[in-house]
């Protein structure tokens, strides 16, 4: 081939399909990536493979009968989903929760955050190419948290533990000693994990400066949770719109600067430390008394609407509920953290290589159950 011929050669963009069944897509997410060679020009997300119509199902169930379905939203952190829904109904009906119930809620929600971040950082490193070794470490620790959940509610994945007005049952005697032990173990584990990975050269090369999400874009796209905080948005609903008894505990909000994949990873690790701090304070003074308010079997909130939200492990999770005074919600909208956090993915991956797409996508931490609902 002559040089002149080479000069006139053109590359052509082509479409590569990721998923819905692909090891990197965390479920049944699908992307249609337009590539120029290995460089990403654009991506188009295709969702809906796990759509079960949960918002419609809510309209045919009683207020408390909907709680088990919330487990199926973000199935990595069902405790937070339960709690967000209960907070919304309690706001609508003006229900007060006994102190002991509030403390148990905080402990469970923070344990859930730890369990979620274990999965999040494990699968993120998986996506970075550290195939399954870090995942095994984090799953080993998550297992211990799941054992505690099993102890309080008899379930390992779909807990259905929160109730409108409190929690379903009191903790058994052996729970608090086991929790104490676990907190110590987890603190050690985070240090160990950090030693292995904080300065790991491969991790740094794959994530430092990759997939930058600017502060402005994060706010404009409604991004929340660790992803937004890694971009410098110091916004955590546990402090900004404090709910339950979070205002009684000391903790910090870890914030990143660069907004790259590495910062998102770091923020999650730091949040795990803060969660341990909250649990340590909470378990010291769990008050006695009932764990659940006395309520009629069928709850009929007055006509009206309410939006209850909380800082779920992935970001702001909220329920907008409209009541017409009957035993079932007239409308129940779920603010899907995972779906909204994907809004900025397109901006984040443009210009990066295919392998980076996987790592950037992994650093957002989504669950398809919540994207599709």
């Amino acid at each position: 081939m002559t040089t002149t011929e080479m000069m006139t050669l053109k590359t052509e963009p082509f479409v590569l399909n990721f998923g819905p069944v692909h090891p990197s897509t965390h479920g049944v997410y699908r992307m249609r990536a337009t590539l120029d060679g290995e460089v990403i020009l654009d991506i188009e997300p295709v969702v809906g493979y796990l759509h079960r119509g949960i918002e419609k199902l809510a309209e045919e169930r009683t207020f408390s009968g909907f709680i088990p379905l919330t487990d199926r939203l973000d199935y990595i952190s069902p405790m937070s989903n339960n709690l967000a829904y209960c907070l919304a109904v309690e706001k609508l009906a003006g229900i007060k929760i006994p102190e002991r119930g509030e403390y148990l809620r905080v402990i469970m929600a923070e344990l859930q955050r730890l369990a979620n971040h274990c999965v999040a950082v494990g699968s993120f490193l998986n996506d970075c190419g550290a195939y399954y070794t870090p995942f095994m470490y984090t799953f080993r620790e998550r297992e211990k948290i799941v054992d505690l959940f099993d102890m309080v509610c008899g379930q390992r994945l779909t807990y259905n533990y929160m109730r409108i007005g409190g929690v379903s049952q009191d903790i058994p005697e052996e729970f608090l000693p086991a929790l104490k032990k676990l907190v110590k173990q987890l603190a050690r584990f985070i240090e160990e994990y950090e030693r292995l990975l904080k300065q790991n050269e491969i991790l740094l090369a794959r994530t430092k400066g990759v997939g930058i999400l600017s502060r402005e874009t994060a706010i404009n796209c409604g991004i929340s949770g660790p992803v937004a905080r890694a971009s410098g948005v110091a916004w955590d609903l546990r402090k900004a719109d404090s709910y339950s008894v979070y205002d009684r505990f000391q903790f910090d909000i870890p914030v990143g600067e660069a907004g790259d994949s590495y910062d998102r990873y770091r923020v999650r690790i730091e949040e795990m430390r803060q969660s341990l701090r909250i649990i340590e304070q909470a378990m010291k003074d769990v008050p006695g008394g009932p764990v659940r308010a006395e309520l009629p079997h069928l709850i009929r909130p007055p006509r009206g609407e309410a939006y209850g939200h909380l800082e779920a492990p992935k970001g702001e999770l909220g329920f907008y509920i409209v009541s017409d005074g009957s035993i079932a919600p007239y409308r129940c909208h779920i603010r899907p953290t995972s779906l909204i956090n994907l809004s900025a993915l397109r901006e984040m991956v443009k210009g990066w290589k295919v392998a980076d797409l996987i790592a950037i996508f992994g650093s957002i931490d989504i669950t398809m159950g919540e994207v599709d609902r």
């Binding site: 809906g48 759509h51 706010i219 404009n220 796209c221 948005v233």
Partner: protein, 147 residues
């Protein structure tokens, strides 16, 4: 704690700035006429002192005689929040203006409402069904939907 912005004050300011833009403002939310929605939203987003820069969520409710589209806005600077609503009549192709130009996060949520509730968003760059496939009969979240 996030403060709910006093709707009365806001309604008075809006009535002065955009006469006739409000349909109703009692209770906890502003009900804006669809025609003035974009102007009001831009005002809420960019005015110093209000700066509602964060769109929490968009959703829609079917009240049989009309659809209500609900927006919750929060200011991360001032930590206050407000609920803005707009209504559209008619069950055949109701539509409201799209706010994707103001908040990028509205993109998927408006597509979701279009898909499940059948409300169009004028000016949306890529308005097509998001969860269900093209050709799916009807919009499941409508109250008169029969599977």
């Amino acid at each position: 704690m996030t403060q709910v912005y006093a709707v009365k004050d806001l309604a008075a300011r809006l009535e002065e700035r955009f006469p006739g833009s409000l349909e109703e403002s009692d209770g906890d939310s502003l009900v804006v006429r669809a025609g003035s929605l974009l102007a009001v939203m831009a005002y809420l987003k960019d005015t110093v002192g209000l700066e509602f820069d964060y769109l929490n969520y968009i959703t829609a409710v079917d009240y049989y005689s009309y659809f209500e589209v609900v927006y919750q806005l929060t200011s991360l600077t001032h930590n206050h929040t407000v609920v803005v609503k707009t209504r559209c009549q008619g069950r055949n192709n109701p539509s409201v203006p799209s706010v994707t130009g103001l908040w990028g996060g509205a993109d998927f949520q408006e597509r979701e409402i279009y898909d499940l509730m059948g409300i169009g968003f004028k000016g949306h760059p890529n308005l097509k069904r998001i969860f269900l496939w093209e050709g799916f009969p009807g919009h499941p979240l409508r109250k008169d939907f029969v599977p």
